[in-house]
Subunit: 192 residues, 2 copies
DNA sequence: AGTAAAACTGAATAAATATTCATTTAATTT
DNA sequence: AAATTAAATGAATATTTATTCAGTTTTACT
C-alpha cells in the first residue's frame, strides 16, 4: 500500500456527520464513529491525531464545501435580482440536501472544538455575498441597512425553515421556496 | 435545615448556563459545574439524580421562562399590529438579555439529553403565537401562508440577529429593532 | 446548650472514553 | 514469490468524568 486512503477519510467524515445529526456533537465517541464507519478504532488515529483534529478537519471541510455550493451559477450574466434569487435558492437547496452538514456546522460553532480564530476566516468565504448586498444597497435595489443585518436576515430565515422542515419530515417544495423568497424580498427591497 | 435550598438550584442552573454559553454543551463536566457554582461535586447529586436530570430540568425551566416572557403585555387591548410588534419586541429583548438561555436551549434540542417527546410539548407554550398568526391570516392582515412558515420566519430572523449581535459584542438598539421589525412586517404583510 | 435531621464536602470508586501499540493483514517492490 | 513497507486491527492502557459515600458541618427545634 502506498498512501492513506482518501475514501476512508470520506467514510469517517460521513459517519461523523450521520452521528452528529442523530445524537448531537455532545453524544458521540471515537468508538461510535469507528463503528459507524465500519473500521477499527485505532484506524481513526492513522488518519487523525485525535478527536479534536478529526472534528476540526471536518469543520473546515464542511465550511469549504458549503460556501462553494452557495455561489454556484451566481454570475455576472444575471441581473441583481437574478443573482440574489439564485443565491437564496442555492443556500436553501444545499442546506436541505445536506442537512447533516448544516447541523454539524451549527453545533460546532459553539463547541469546545472550534475557536473564534476559525470563525474569522468564515468572513472570507462569504465575501461575495457581502459584496452582492453592498451593491444592492448602493444601487437602491434594497433598503439602506447595515449589510450584516441583511445577511442575518437571509440566513436566519433559511436556517430556521430548513431545520423545521427536516424535523417535521416535510420536503420544501419549489412553491414553498418561491413563497419564502417573496417574503424575504419584500423584507429587503427598497421602497423609498 | 428543613428543605433543599432553592437558591442552590438557582446557582447550579446559573453556573450551567454560563458554562454552556462559554464552552458549549459538549464541553462541560459535573466538576466544572460544581466549581462554577462554588459547591462540592457531591452536592449536585443532592439536587439532581444525575447529569441527565440536571440538564433536562434546566431545559424545562428555560423553556417555561422564555415562553412566559414572550407574551408579556401582549393583550387584547392592543390591535393586531400592536400585539405582533410587542411580541417581536419581547422575543428579541428576552433573547438578548438572556443569551445564555437561548444558547442552551438551541444546543439542547439536538443533544442526547433531550428527546422528541419533550419537543412536542413545546407547541403548547407557543400556542398563543400560532393563534395570533392564524388570526392575522384570516383577517387578511398578513399574507396567506402556512402558519408554521411565518413562525420559522419570525424566529429565524430573531435568532440569527441575536446570535450575531452577541458574538460581535454589539448591542441591539431600539432603532435596529425597529428596522428589523419593519423588514419582518414587510415580509409578512398582506398585499393583495 | 443539646440533639437529631438535613445538607454539604471532597476524596475514593466506578464507568465511560480516548489513545496506544503489539500483532496481523494487505499492498508494493525487487 | 520473498522481502519490505504501509495500513488496519482491537484488546490493553491511560485518561477523563460521573457518581458514591463516610465523615463533617449546618440548621431547626426543644
Amino acid at each position: 500500500m502506498r498512501c492513506k486512503d482518501v475514501s476512508k477519510v470520506e467514510a469517517i467524515f460521513r459517519a461523523t456527520l450521520t452521528l452528529v445529526k442523530e445524537r448531537g456533537l455532545a453524544g458521540i465517541t471515537m468508538g461510535d464513529i469507528s463503528k459507524e464507519a465500519s473500521i477499527a478504532t485505532g484506524t481513526l488515529y492513522i488518519y487523525f491525531k485525535n478527536k479534536d483534529e478529526l472534528i476540526r478537519a471536518l469543520f473546515t471541510e464542511c465550511r469549504k464545501q458549503s460556501a462553494h455550493y452557495y455561489f454556484e451559477n451566481v454570475n455576472e450574466q444575471l441581473s441583481f435580482e437574478g443573482r440574489m434569487e439564485r443565491l437564496f435558492h442555492n443556500i436553501i437547496c444545499y442546506k436541505m440536501n445536506n442537512f447533516e452538514v448544516s447541523a454539524f456546522l451549527e453545533q460546532s460553532y459553539h463547541s469546545p472544538y472550534v475557536d473564534v480564530i476559525d470563525l474569522k476566516k468564515k468572513q472570507k468565504a462569504l465575501n461575495p455575498l457581502f459584496d452582492l448586498i453592498k451593491e444592492g444597497v448602493e444601487t437602491r435595489k434594497i433598503r439602506n441597512t447595515e449589510v450584516q443585518l441583511i445577511v442575518s436576515y437571509l440566513f436566519g430565515i433559511i436556517n430556521e425553515m430548513v431545520k423545521k422542515a427536516y424535523f417535521s419530515n416535510k420536503k420544501i417544495t419549489e412553491a414553498v421556496i418561491k413563497e419564502v423568497y417573496a417574503m424575504f424580498w419584500n423584507g429587503i427591497k427598497y421602497d423609498g
